[in-house]
Every structure is written in structure tokens, then in C-alpha cells.
């Protein structure tokens, strides 16, 4: 950084933007330019209709060269919009980009006021403050950092698989971490997928195999990310390897252990509709192909108490003494694809909650439909195995309910309910399928055609209205609802009810997200850096987001998002070095007393105490320039570059002086 001599007066240029009528409608922009013409330090002053347009930028470039300006004020919109544009213009004119000051006279003035005279006065004050600041701005250069060209993908569902594969195909190494014994996520549990009815396993298993065989993907299943330290381009990751108690390189899937295991537990893969043993393989196509011993349900990992599985294992793959270990990896970027959970049955007491076995959620019905499911694809109800002759499907179960449940739309339920009802009618041709809906939302390629087929060809009865209550009378479930098209109460007898349950944040990863400081929205889904323009990035630099962890979405959208996140990782890795904003807050060693107040203020863990010298040191790469430390520092040792205490006081003086 080159410190300019303070006593040499700067030549500052002022450019006031009309922004059409956005600013000029309320602020007399010409007057602002006029008033500031003779303000100390201002060499040049003008106004223009759209400063951000090409001619506007060109005007700035030309004027810088012509008038030898070394400081620029653009009085326009918020710096979040066009600061970069004008910095680039300055660079083209040979001026250091950090000599650009944006005076916000739109969001903070013209948009919030109506009185033209007062608003103009305020604009003048805002500009004067920025002139005072600009006079003390220094030339700054971005901070450069190296990049580790390796990515971590958290989550082995379809989004994680797609992101891992794409990054690996870009030519970079990937570490894929999945907490369950197998990759595949929720998608592998689905039966058919809308709107084409192709079998979910048939389309996902090739991807799973490809990922597991990819030379640049390191697959860590039954592992959990414990913590991540460092910063974009340079993360250190600690990963917990959970003990599987089976050596996956030795296990030959002979199945003998499972046969002798005496412990029977509900099978998660089949949503508890069938049973597995304590030593198990989640499903036949599981990857990696190995058995896993579930310590929670095992009789005690003790050959004295049981040890049957160990006895029969010819390959000697079972080892009760395996311990949890930690794996450490270095990566440059992280893709978070941690998926979703379904809203719990207990939360829907009015629909029988967990009371009635024959009230199932959408994912349970997927297993009932699936050829690999507990009923081999024949639709049977859980309580007594009878084929249900009347099934009621309830859309928006727990969604779009601001009073009691989740206010948002879970997006995919309309389509999968149509699919469920269609599949049911195909397999039970004499059965009655009834769907309760609020709206049918079929925005997607070939979606509405699919829905119309369900109604017209498969004769599924759609009733517009919500269900108020589901209860049992004898052998039947009684569904109370309302038909809002006729305004009448309806009562439907059903053998089975399928709730299109709301999709909610994944509970198991909330602690991790907190540790990673990844922002979430009010519902606990991951928050994008910008909902429209940066949809797969986190505000936390170096973290990329994909899939249902961001919010409910279907498979095509999930895959597209995963590829987008991978492309963003590719962008990062394609750079020779990373540039970090230089407007950070360094420490003046001579003033710092080592009190550490700034360390507690820093939300980015960028500051730490150097015990040897008794002063605070700053990791400038981690510093995001928020200024919290500078405000808190009692001695003035923490000064933000181009936002020093002196500059702030000068701004206040300029603003308050009449």
C-alpha cells in the first residue's frame, strides 16, 4: 500500500447520476453538482442521466485522464449494485479502484423522501461527507491467496453425487462425505419418478457406481464432517470415521452374518415398514457393497454376549474393536448438499399422527410402491396387509399452513401425489383414489400433461379443499374434509391415507451448519448469497450449496443446481490465485494493548492474540471488513483501510457543518 502524503490536496471528480427519474424525480441533481463545484477538493463536477451506462462510464474514464483526477465520487445507487462497475472504470483510466467512492443518494435519499428541497439538501450533505472521506482514501491492492484445487462435498444424495461427479470431471479431486452406510440419499428410496415414471433406482444406481469408480473421487461413507477451519481456497477439514465394525475391503457380502444375527430392528430404508438385522446392508445396490454393524442395536459388540456374526464370517471381516477415528483433509471449496427431512407424523395430530398405521407419509408410500419395498411392489396397507380398495391422498400436509405448520409450499407434493394416485390406480384397477388439494401446482416440463392424465385417464377424484380430521371407525379410516367448490363438508371412507408431508430442514446437520457459520433462512433451509443472482453460493466464501438443503425441489432442479454449484467450484479452481478485498482491519502493533475485545467481536474468527508479543494478529483473508472490531477497539489500534476513525469523523464533520 502506498501511503499518499496527506498534505497534498487531491483532485476529486464528482459524477451525479439521475438514474432516470429514480433520483432526479426527487433530488435536484443538477443543483447538487452545481453546489459542490467549488467545494474544497472538488476539481470537477457534473451530472448525467445514467452513470452506469457505457457513455456514463466512458465519461468518467475520459475525465479522469483529462483532468488528472485522483479521487472519484459517484453519487448514485447503493454501492452493492455498481461499486464494482465504477471501480473497473477507474482501473481502465489508470486510477486505483479504491479511490472510487459511492455516495448513495437513491436508496438512502430519493427513494425514501418526497420533499424535493429537503431531499436535495440531504444529497448535498451525503456527497460532502464522501468528499471528506475521498480526500483521505489510499491506493489499495487486493490481497492474493493460493487455492487448494480439491473440493469437499457434504452429502451423498443425488445433489451431492452430481456435484462430486461434475467437479471430478472438471479435473479436480473430490472428497465425498456421507453419514449413512451407503450413498443414494432419499432418491434411492423412491419408486418411480414423475413425469416419466422411470424407476428411481434404475436411473440413480449408474450414477452411484460411476461416483464410486471415479479415479478422482474419494468416497467416505459412514463418515461425518466434524469441523472445517481456514478460508476460501484453503480449508482444513476434520472428518469423523464412524466404526462400521466390518472391514469393507474384506466383506464379500456372503450374507451369513445377517442370517445368524438375533437382533431385529425397524429398517430405515423401508421407512420402518419392514425389519432388518443389527448387522445389515441397507439395500441390495448399496455402495460401498459391505455389511455394516449397527452398534446401537448390537447385543454389545462382545463375543461373550453374542459374537455369532464374527463366528460365521469366513473372511474375518468383522472387528468389534474398531474405534471412531479422525481423517484430516485439505480442500479449497465445500459443496453443502445435506438434503431434507419430512415433517414428523406426530406434528399432525389432527390426521391421526402416529396413531394409525394406515396413515402413511409420501416416502412410506414410495416404499410400498417400490418393487424392492416391503411388499414387493404390491400395494398393501401396513396394519393387516390387505390391498386397500380406497385410498385418500392429502396434499399440503403440514405445508401452506401459517397457523399451525409450515407456511411454505413443499413444491413437489402435487406432482408426486398425482404419481402416487396414478400408480395406485394402475396396480389396483378397482380401487378408488381420492385427492384433497388446495391448488394443483404443475409448473414443470410435461408436468401438467401428467396431472391431466391422472385425472382423465386414470379417473382419480380430485376434491378441492383441506382435510380437517382423520380418524378410525372400525376397520375404516374416516377422512373429514371440505369441498370448497360446492361449499359442502365431505366425509370419505378409506382403507389407507397417504399424507403428502411437508419437506423440512434436515435435523441431523443443524449443528454442523452452525459450526460452519452457514446462514439459514427462517425455516432452517440454507440461505443463498442472493436468491436470484447467486443461487448456489453461501455468503460464507468458499461454500457452495445444492439440492433440498436450500428448500424443497424436484430431481431435475436438484441435479441442475448441483451442476451449477460444481461449475462455481470450477470457476474458483480455474483461478491462478484468489483476490481478497483489501479493505480489511489490520492492527497497529504500537497501539494494541492485547485486550482481545476485537477477538470476541469478530464474526469470522479472523483475529487472534499473539501470546509472544501480547498483541492481536489478523488473518486478512478471513477478515470480511465488517468493521465490528474497529468500532469496539478502545485504543484505536484497529483501523479499517479506507474507513479509518479519521475518515469517519471527517465525514461527520462535513455532514453536520451547514
Amino acid at each position: 500500500m502506498t501511503a499518499k502524503a496527506k498534505n497534498k490536496e487531491k483532485r476529486i471528480g464528482l459524477f451525479v447520476c439521475h438514474c432516470g427519474v429514480n433520483i432526479a424525480g426527487v433530488v435536484d441533481v443538477e443543483k447538487v453538482a452545481q453546489v459542490l463545484k467549488d467545494y474544497p477538493g472538488v476539481t470537477f463536477s457534473t451530472d448525467y442521466v445514467y452513470m452506469c451506462s457505457d457513455p456514463g462510464q466512458q465519461m468518467i474514464i475520459d475525465t479522469i485522464k483529462e483532468k488528472h483526477l485522483d479521487g472519484i465520487i459517484v453519487a448514485a445507487c447503493s454501492p452493492t449494485l455498481h461499486e464494482k462497475t465504477f471501480q473497473e472504470a477507474a482501473r481502465l483510466a489508470g486510477l486505483n479502484p479504491y479511490q472510487i467512492e459511492i455516495a448513495n443518494i437513491r436508496e438512502q435519499d430519493s427513494w425514501v423522501h418526497t420533499d424535493k428541497e429537503k431531499a436535495t439538501k440531504k444529497a448535498v450533505k451525503i456527497v460532502k461527507a464522501h468528499v471528506a472521506k475521498a480526500r483521505q482514501n489510499e491506493n489499495l491492492d487486493p490481497i492474493k491467496v493460493d487455492v487448494t484445487r480439491r473440493a469437499l462435498v457434504i452429502g451423498g444424495g443425488v445433489s451431492g453425487l452430481q456435484a462430486a461427479m461434475d467437479i471430478a470431471d472438471h479435473g479436480y479431486e473430490v472428497i465425498l462425505v456421507e453419514k449413512n452406510p451407503s450413498i443414494g440419499g432419499k432418491m434411492i428410496q423412491l419408486s418411480e419418478t414423475f413425469p416419466t415414471l422411470d424407476c428411481s433406482q434404475c436411473i440413480l444406481t449408474p450414477k452411484m457406481v460411476e461416483v464410486s469408480r471415479h479415479p478422482r473421487i474419494k468416497l467416505l461413507t459412514y463418515h461425518e464432517v466434524d469441523s472445517i477451519s481456514g478460508f476460501i481456497g484453503n480449508f482444513k477439514v476434520r472428518i469423523k470415521k464412524k466404526p462400521r465394525y466390518v472391514d469393507e475391503t474384506l466383506c464379500n457380502l456372503c450374507n451369513e452374518c445377517e442370517k445368524v444375527c438375533p437382533q431385529v430392528v425397524p429398517d430405515e430404508f423401508n421407512m420402518g415398514l419392514s425389519f432388518r438385522k443389527a448387522i445389515y446392508m441397507p439395500f441390495p445396490q448399496a455402495i460401498p457393497g459391505t455389511f455394516t454393524l449397527d452398534a446401537e442395536h448390537c447385543l454389545g459388540l462382545n463375543p461373550v454376549r453374542c459374537g455369532k456374526c464374527k463366528d460365521v464370517c469366513e473372511k474375518k471381516a468383522i472387528d468389534y474393536d474398531m474405534k471412531e477415528t479422525i481423517v484430516e483433509e485439505e480442500v479449497g471449496a465445500v459443496v453443502v448438499a445435506t438434503g431434507y427431512d419430512l415433517y414428523t407424523m406426530q406434528a399432525l395430530g389432527e390426521y391421526g399422527g402416529e396413531k394409525y398405521e394406515d396413515v402413511v407419509n409420501g416416502l412410506e408410500f414410495e416404499r410400498i410402491l417400490s418393487a424392492s419395498g416391503p411388499t414387493g411392489g404390491t400395494i398393501r396397507r401396513p396394519s393387516d396387509g390387505k390391498i386397500p380398495k380406497s385410498v385418500v391422498f392429502v396434499q399440503c400436509s403440514g405445508s401452506r399452513d401459517t397457523e399451525k405448520h409450515n407456511p411454505y409450499c413443499s413444491k413437489i407434493c402435487c406432482m408426486y401425489t398425482a404419481k402416487h394416485a396414478m400408480m395406485y390406480r394402475h396396480r389396483v384397477p378397482d380401487g378408488q383414489a381420492t385427492v384433497f388439494y388446495i391448488d394443483v401446482r404443475t409448473g414443470g416440463k410435461s408436468f401438467d400433461e401428467f396431472y391431466m392424465r391422472t385425472v382423465e385417464e386414470d379417473k382419480v377424484l380430485y376434491i378441492r379443499g383441506k382435510v380437517s380430521k382423520i380418524f378410525k371407525e372400525g376397520d375404516k379410516l374416516i377422512v373429514w374434509g371440505v369441498d370448497t367448490l360446492t361449499g359442502k363438508k365431505v366425509e370419505v371412507e378409506a382403507d389407507m391415507v397417504v399424507l403428502a408431508m411437508a419437506m423440512v430442514k434436515a435435523d441431523g446437520v443443524q449443528d454442523l451448519l452452525k459450526k460452519l457459520k452457514i446462514a439459514t433462512d427462517i425455516h432452517g433451509f440454507l440461505a443463498e448469497a442472493h436468491p436470484k443472482l447467486r443461487p448456489v453460493e453461501s455468503l460464507n466464501a468458499g461454500f457452495y450449496l445444492a439440492g433440498c438443503a436450500l428448500g424443497p425441489k424436484d430431481i431435475p432442479e436438484t441435479v441442475a443446481q448441483a451442476s451449477a454449484a460444481a461449475a462455481k467450484v470450477g470457476d474458483l479452481f480455474a483461478q491462478k490465485e484468489l483476490l481478497h478485498e483489501p479493505t480489511v482491519v489490520p492492527v497497529n502493533d504500537e497501539l494494541c494493548s492485547g485486550c482481545g475485545i476485537c477477538i470476541t467481536m469478530c464474526p469470522y474468527s479472523a483475529r487472534s492474540l499473539d501470546p509472544a508479543r501480547g498483541v492481536v494478529v489478523v488473518n486478512e483473508i478471513l477478515c470480511e471488513g465488517c468493521g465490528a472490531c474497529a468500532a469496539a477497539c478502545p485504543s484505536g489500534a484497529a483501523q479499517q483501510r479506507n474507513q479509518t476513525d479519521n475518515q469517519i469523523f471527517s465525514m461527520l464533520r462535513a455532514m453536520l457543518r451547514e
Binding site: 399432525l348 395430530g349 389432527e350 399422527g353 396413531k355 380430521k469 380418524f471 378410525k472 371407525e473 372400525g474 374416516i478
Partner: protein, 310 residues
Amino acid sequence: MRVHYYPGCTLKQKTTALDISTREAMKRLDIDLIEPEGWTCCGAEYPLTEEKIVGLAAPIRVLRQVREEGGDVLVTTCSFCFAVLKRADKAIKDDPLKRKRINAYLRDDIQIDPLTKERTTDFEDYNGEVKVLHLLEYLRDRVGYPKIRERIKRDLKGLAVAPYYGCRVLRPQKEMAVDEPDSPRLFEEFLEAVGCAAVDYPFKQECCGSYLSVSLPAAATEASYRILRSAGMNGAKAVAVTCPLCFYNMDHRQEAIKETFLDFSGLPVVFFTQILAWALGVDKSVLGLGEHLVPADGLFSETPATEVRT
């Protein structure tokens, strides 16, 4: 133990059984019931139907009187009174403007002597100092089931009773906050504590028809029929209620129900306090059983009075 008790109008007129059985039961639990001096009607449903503030004056006046007498809890048995008192209290607690206005009404009313037109007594604003509890809640939270179990004199031998909450005790949940409205345990736990078996049936929170009894009796008949039928189908020997209006619709209307729905053969309806009093050893003659149109005597004699604990 002393506690303020608000009987409400119906308990003094048509449905004295609920009042007297409550008093007898509380005596056996060594609880003195104090009626707030000069209590008036709570306003039944009206104070809650409109946004008009003046409707709240009656219930708030009662609550203020309890505070003036040094009470901090007011117990009710009637579901309607409970809902009105509790929601009126919450309405003024949550809304400073309502609170100010209602206190202005009460101040003039209480302070100004009607003859001399002069302000006479002191007045301190009522700011929601009194907690309104349903007797079931009071028994659960303040008395405790262990104490009730200790005092039980008659073994009800797991008499199958269907708890009927009706509409007013549980909802609106955010205001009543008594129990989970879809899978409540309050009434069930009470019945189990006094030695009954609580029958689970899906109609325990459905409406009995309420005031449709007046304007559209056929609707109330059908609504009550479905509740009684469901309770019976699930094995109940009686339905226990907390509300005089529910009692009216399900007991007094049973003749009409039988005439309309030929598959229905009758089911006694009792107040929860009658069961409590009986279990605590109160004599049958003071349970107010004469008010029942559907004879309920059988319930209170089938199970012989035996000393279970001394």
C-alpha cells in the same frame, strides 16, 4: 387450601349437579372454595364474538374482584365460563389499549356513587394478575393426582368412561394453552387418577352442536349422536363432560336422538365432578343425579363402595 371459584349462572340454575358435586368433591380434598363477592354472569359467548370492548367488562370485573379479595387463581368448571374468563383476561393482557379502556369503564363504575355522583373508593387498575384455571387443570397442576389417589374411598374398578372435552377447553390453543388440542391427555389422566379407564375415541373434541340446540335442534341432535355413538362403539359405559351445554345436548336430547337414530340405545352422561365426588366417597344422594334425564344411577351403584385405602 383456599381458592376462588366461579360457578357461573347455569350452575346456579339449571345444572346445579355440576356445582354441588364440585363442592362436595373439593370438601373431601380439603379445598375451600370462595365465590368472589358480587360475581356476575361472564357474558357467555358474547364478549368474544365482537371486537367491542364493553363486552369484556363483566369478566374483567369478576377477575378484578378476585384480586381485590387477595386471590391469584380463579377456578371454573363450566367450559364456557372458563373460555370467556381466560380469553378476556388474555385480551387485556396482550393489548395495552384494551386494558386502559376497560379499566376506565370499571373505574367509573366502581368509584362513582350512583346517588351522589362522587368518586368514593380507591381503584387500582386490573392488569391480568389473576390466573384462570379450569378445575381439571387445577387438579392436575395445583392439587396433583397423587393427592387425589390418596383420598380415594371407592374403587371404580376401571369403569370405562369416555372423556368429552367439547370445543371450549382446548381451543383456540394459543389462548387456552391447556393441552395439545389434537391428542390431549388432561381429561384422560384425570379419569385414570380417579380409577376409571379413559376410553379413546375420535370425537372427544368435536362440537356437540352448542347453541344450535335453539336455532337448529336437528343439527345438535345429530352432532351429539355421533359423539355418543363413537364413545359407545369404543366401549364407553358413560361419557364425562365439563360443560352444562354439552350435558344438555347429550343428556336432555337423548330421547330425540333415539327417535332419530334407531341404532342408538342410550348412554349415560355425567359430569367429571360427579365421578370425582363419588370416588372420594361422597354419598350418592348429593350428586345431583335427579337432574339427569338419562338415568346415571347405575354407574354409581354397580361399583360397590369399598374402602380401598384408610
